[in-house]
């Protein structure tokens, strides 16, 4: 096990962040008035009583965008260590490799174009 100072620092900073955010909340709990009323606690919805629950189902499109994002994200993140090494590499082989990798990424974008992923419907049909 290696316990680095970086790790200490990250834990300390996150903890301090929670504390820094938590203290005003606690202060507010002590200082603020405490009204209790049925109407006060209603979620806001145009001034009327809320109609039904808000935990509704989303369209599946959101899920697909998240899926595309995830795949793209992983792809791009593989490029990071490669990019760090790239200026120190020798010869033209690394250039060809990066070119291929980015070209395949570009193919994905072209494919989305062709399939109409980026054409947003003018009217959403239910």
């Amino acid at each position: 096990m290696i316990f680095s100072w970086l790790h200490v620092a990250i834990i300390l900073f996150l903890g301090a962040g929670v504390l820094f955010a938590g203290v005003p909340l606690l202060a507010s709990l002590l200082l603020a008035p405490k009204c209790k009323d049925e109407e006060l606690l209603l979620p806001y919805e145009c001034g009327l009583r809320p109609y039904g629950t808000s935990w509704v189902r989303f369209g599946i499109n959101y899920y697909f965008y998240a899926l595309l994002f995830l795949a793209f994200d992983v792809d791009v993140l593989y490029l990071y260590p490669v990019a760090v090494y790239y200026p120190f590499s020798e010869g033209f082989l690394p250039l060809i490799e990066i070119f291929l990798f980015v070209f395949i990424l570009g193919l994905a974008v072209i494919y989305f174009f062709k399939k109409g992923v980026f054409s947003w419907p003018r009217r959403i049909k239910v």
Partner: protein, 325 residues
């Protein structure tokens, strides 16, 4: 300012740095609120806040006191644990983002070899907090705001990551202090000269990731009341606000380190140059907010997927070619 590297124990060094960062974040919140209101005022040809203190300079403090003194309401039917955890989850990573930033030549908490990715990782947690906030408040506006926020962050995260790759291809480092040192003190030695396209894409993505106008669709007042934080009152709202300003500063700091030479300046390099650049970029962000109208949702996504991603992919290829030639 003290020279952090002369302090013997790393722990003391980290704690001092931490206190400095906390003070900076708190102060920055106050300064940004004041600046934003003054800039908004003067752009609209009115003086802005003027009553509390000379030229309204104590207005942010009064605002803070007001926020603390407001009742915190958990709406009926909401998920109380997640509802109150969300502002904390939004704010805490913002502090961790300050860890690898070199404020000055010897003013860095811990020199981290993966500093750049650390910032990207922790700033991506904000989306999660916003979607928990939107989902747990049992409010339809909040949920819609959260859904929009995720779609937006998801679309702009990719060009953000892609636009930073040319910088790494040129410098060969993820350590922010090293990237600063590869640039010189004079403006023509900064990386923005070599990578103007990457700078523009990165800066626009920072707007989108921090939900600033013209990309403030997740909290669009005219359509969604207040978006994901509709139900938050008092300090709950205040924390989201503070987190937003902190992420803005982190974004601008990253832009000035990667593209504008960080703490280096033509005369007397030091932390003052760094702060000058950061606040200049922040002023640009505020200027843009009060100048451009909000974009439509399809325009927002088109800009990311149809323009920024192909352009930044091309930029990577050209940079890779130039580095080898």
């Amino acid at each position: 300012m003290i020279d952090l590297s002369t302090i013997p124990s790393p722990l003391v060094q980290i704690v001092i740095g931490l206190i400095g960062v906390l003070a900076f974040v708190g102060l920055n919140g106050l300064v940004c609120v004041y600046l934003e209101r003054k800039v908004a005022g003067h752009i609209q040809r009115r003086p802005g806040p003027f009553e509390v203190g000379p030229h309204g300079i104590l207005q942010p403090l009064a605002d803070a006191v007001k926020l603390v003194a407001k009742q915190m309401i958990t709406p009926k039917g909401a998920d109380p644990i997640l509802y109150w955890a969300a502002p904390l989850i939004s704010f805490a990573p913002a502090i961790a983002c300050f860890l690898p930033l070199p404020f000055g030549p010897k003013l860095q908490n811990v020199s981290i070899n993966v500093g750049l990715i650390l910032i990207l990782a922790f700033s991506s947690l904000n989306v999660l907090a916003l979607c928990l906030a939107g989902w747990s408040s049992q409010n339809k506006w909040s949920l819609l705001g959260a859904a929009r926020d995720i779609a937006q962050s998801v679309a702009y995260e990719i060009p953000l990551l892609l636009s930073l790759l040319p910088i790494i291809l040129l410098t060969g480092s993820l350590n922010l202090a090293e990237i600063t040192q590869t640039q010189g003190p004079w403006p023509w030695q900064w990386l923005v000269v070599k990578q103007p396209l990457a700078f523009i894409i990165f800066f626009v993505c920072v707007f989108a990731e921090t939900n600033r106008a013209p990309f403030d669709l997740p909290e669009a007042e005219s359509e969604l009341t207040a978006g994901f934080h509709t139900e938050y009152s008092g300090m709950g709202f205040g924390l989201f606000f503070l987190a937003e300003y902190s992420y803005m500063v982190v974004g601008c700091a990253l832009a000035s380190i990667l593209f504008l030479g960080g703490y280096q300046g033509p005369v007397a390099s030091g932390w003052w140059w760094f702060l000058l650049k950061v606040y200049a970029l922040l002023l640009v962000m505020m200027w843009v907010r009060w100048t451009y109208p909000r974009v439509r949702f399809d325009q927002l996504l088109n800009l990311a997927w149809k323009w920024f991603i192909p352009l930044s992919l091309l930029n990577i290829l050209i940079t890779a070619l130039v580095v080898k030639l």
